[in-house]
Symmetry: C2
Subunit: 326 residues, 2 copies
C-alpha cells in the first residue's frame, strides 16, 4: 500500500514515521506547497514533490493522507483531492463536519474513491468510544475530559499578547470532577469545573508581567471561563521543560441497567500521549489501510470512523485476528 | 426488531431487561428447556415457549439471542440455530473460537442468516479495544486485567470442597502491576503478579476450616498460582454483602512512536460493572441490532465484533451520529 503525505508539518512528519512501523505500507513521498528543496524530511529516503504536481500521480498512490489545518486547508483540500485519490483527513471542527462530509462525499463518489474524514483521537478514537458506549448503555450520560496536554491554539493566543516572547499552555482535567464521574455521581459540570488552564510564559525584557497575566486570565473564550494559572519562566526553561507536544484525555459513559436502574456501570477510555501529532498520525495510517481495502471492495464515497469495521484497520489477516485477539 | 431469548438464566434475564431500554427492539419471548409454566420471568408481559418449538417461529423472530454456557450449550446450540435464525452468542472459550466460528459460519451461510459470536465484554468490547490499540500502535505491548469481580467458576470450585456450604470468589487486579503498566514500564508480569483471589466462604457446622483454606489455596489452575485470601463468614453475611455479580477490568496497550521510539503512549479501556450479566446483555442487544441490519443487506455467515461497523450498533441514524457524536 503506497501512502503519500499532502502537507508537511508536525502531523506529516508523524505520518512519515508511522509508515515505517507498518510493514504493509510504503511511503510514496511528501507533497508540499513550499519549494521541495527547502523541505528537510525526517528520513533521508523520503521524496518531496510540489503540491501542484499531485494530479500526475493519481495512479501511483493508494492513499493520500492530507495533513492540513481544519480552519482553511482541509475544507478546500479534501474535496478537491477526493475525486482522484483515496484520502484520509483529520478535520476537527466538530460543528462543520456535516458540511465537510457532504463536499467530500460528492467528490469521492464522482471519482469512485474512498475518503475517511475526521480521523485521529478526537474526533476519531474518542468518537468511536462515545458511539460504542452509547450503543451499549442507552440510559446514561457522556463525559469527555482533555489533557493533560498542550493546546496549540491557546499557546498561540498567549503569544499574540504584547510583551510575550513565547508561551506554552496546558489543558488539565480537574481530578475531583473525574473522580465524581467515575463514582457514578452523574454530576452536571460547568466549563470551570471540568478543566483548568496552566500557562508557561516567557516575557520580553521589561514587559509588564502583571498586565500580561491579567490579559491572559480575562481573555474571552480562551481563558475567562477557566481557572488559569500563569507561570513566568525563561526561554531556556521553556525549551528544556516544555518542548514536547503531549496530550490525552478521557471519554467516560456512566449508565444503568436493571429493573429500576439499580445497577450502575462505568465505561472509560483514556489516552496518555507523549506526542499528539505522532499518535494522530498512527491513527491516520490504520484508517488509510481501511480506506484502501474498502475501495478495493467498491465501497466508495465519504466514510467516518463509525463506518469502518475494525478488522479493516489491522495488518493481520482476519483468521489470525479471530484466533488471537477475540 | 423482534428479539427472542434462547435459554433463561442470569444472562437471559439481562437481555429481557435490555430490550426495554432500546425503543427499536421488542421482545418476542423466551425459549426454555424447562417446563414453560415453571419459569418466572422478570417482566409479567414476557411470553415463555418450549425450546423444542423454536423452529415454528423461524419467520417471526428477527434475532435470536442464545444465552447458554460456553462449555456444552453454545457449541451445539449456535450452529444448530444459525441456519434458521440470525443469532448472537457470547461464546467465551477463547481457544475454541476458530472451531466454533467454522461450525456457525457453515450453518449461517447455508440458511442465508447472520450470526455474531463471542459478543460481550471479554470476548467482545475488550477484544475490540485490543484490536484498535494494536492497529494504532504496532510497536507495543498488551495487558488485560480483570476485576474486581465475581468469578462464577472459581466460586463453584470452592463450593465443591467438602465442608463448604456456600462461597463467593472475587478476582482482583494488583494495583502495583496496573500502576507499572500505566507508567509505561512494560513489565513482564507473572500470573501471581497480575491478580489476587479473594474468597468468602461459609463453612458447614463443625467443618475443619484450616483444611478448607488449605484445599482452596493449593487447588491447581484455580488458586495455586495466585495469592489467595480466604475469609470465613456466615451465610447471612454472604447473602447480605456478596449477592451481587459485579465485574470489570482493564485493557491497556502501551507503545512507542518517533525516530527511535522516544515517545510513549498509553491506551486504556476499562469497565466497572455492577452487574456482569446485565452489562453483557446490553452488549448483546447492540450487536443483535447490527446482525439484523447486516442480514437485511445480504451480509450472511458468521461474524465477530471485529466485522461490525460501529454505526450498525446504534439506534440513531447515521446522519445524526455523524453530526452529533463524531
Amino acid at each position: 500500500m503506497k501512502i503519500a503525505i499532502y502537507g508537511y508539518g508536525n502531523l506529516g512528519r508523524g505520518v512519515e514515521l508511522a509508515v515505517t512501523q507498518n510493514p504493509d505500507t510504503e511511503l510514496f513521498g511528501v507533497f508540499t506547497r513550499r519549494a521541495p528543496e527547502a523541505v528537510t524530511t525526517v528520513l533521508d529516503t523520503t521524496k518531496v514533490y510540489p503540491a501542484a504536481d499531485i494530479a500526475k500521480y493519481k495512479n501511483d498512490i493508494d492513499v493520500l493522507v492530507i495533513c492540513g489545518g481544519s480552519a482553511t486547508d482541509l475544507p478546500k483540500m479534501t474535496p478537491a483531492l477526493a475525486a482522484d485519490f483515496n484520502v484520509i483527513d483529520s478535520f476537527d471542527t466538530h460543528a462543520d463536519i456535516p458540511r465537510h462530509y457532504a463536499a467530500v462525499d460528492a467528490a469521492a463518489k464522482q471519482g469512485g474513491r474512498t475518503a475517511i474524514i475526521s480521523v485521529g483521537w478526537d474526533p476519531g478514537m474518542f468518537s468511536l468510544n462515545r458511539l460504542y458506549a452509547n450503543a451499549i448503555l442507552p440510559d446514561g450520560k457522556d463525559y469527555t475530559f482533555w489533557g493533560k496536554g498542550v493546546s496549540q491554539g491557546h499557546s498561540d493566543a498567549i503569544r499574540r499578547i504584547e510583551g510575550v516572547a513565547d508561551a506554552r499552555q496546558y489543558t488539565c482535567p480537574v481530578q475531583a470532577a473525574l473522580d465524581s464521574v467515575r463514582a457514578g455521581e452523574n454530576p452536571d459540570l460547568t466549563t470551570r469545573e471540568k478543566h483548568t488552564r496552566l500557562c508557561y510564559v516567557v516575557a520580553k525584557e521589561g514587559a509588564d508581567k502583571a498586565r500580561i497575566e491579567r490579559e491572559i486570565k480575562t481573555m474571552p473564550k480562551y481563558f475567562s471561563d477557566y481557572d488559569t494559572t500563569v507561570n513566568f519562566i525563561s526561554q531556556e526553561e521553556l525549551d528544556r521543560d516544555h518542548k514536547g507536544i503531549p496530550h490525552g484525555g478521557f471519554v467516560i459513559r456512566t449508565g444503568q441497567t436493571g429493573v429500576s436502574g439499580e445497577h450502575k456501570h462505568v465505561i472509560e477510555y483514556s489516552l496518555k500521549l507523549d506526542s499528539n501529532p505522532e499518535f494522530t498520525a498512527s491513527v491516520l495510517i490504520a484508517f488509510a489501510r481501511a480506506a484502501y481495502r474498502m475501495n478495493t471492495r467498491g465501497e466508495t464515497g465519504c466514510k467516518t470512523a463509525f463506518d469502518v469495521a475494525p478488522v479493516d484497520l489491522c495488518a493481520m489477516n482476519r483468521d489470525e485476528i479471530i484466533a488471537h485477539m477475540l
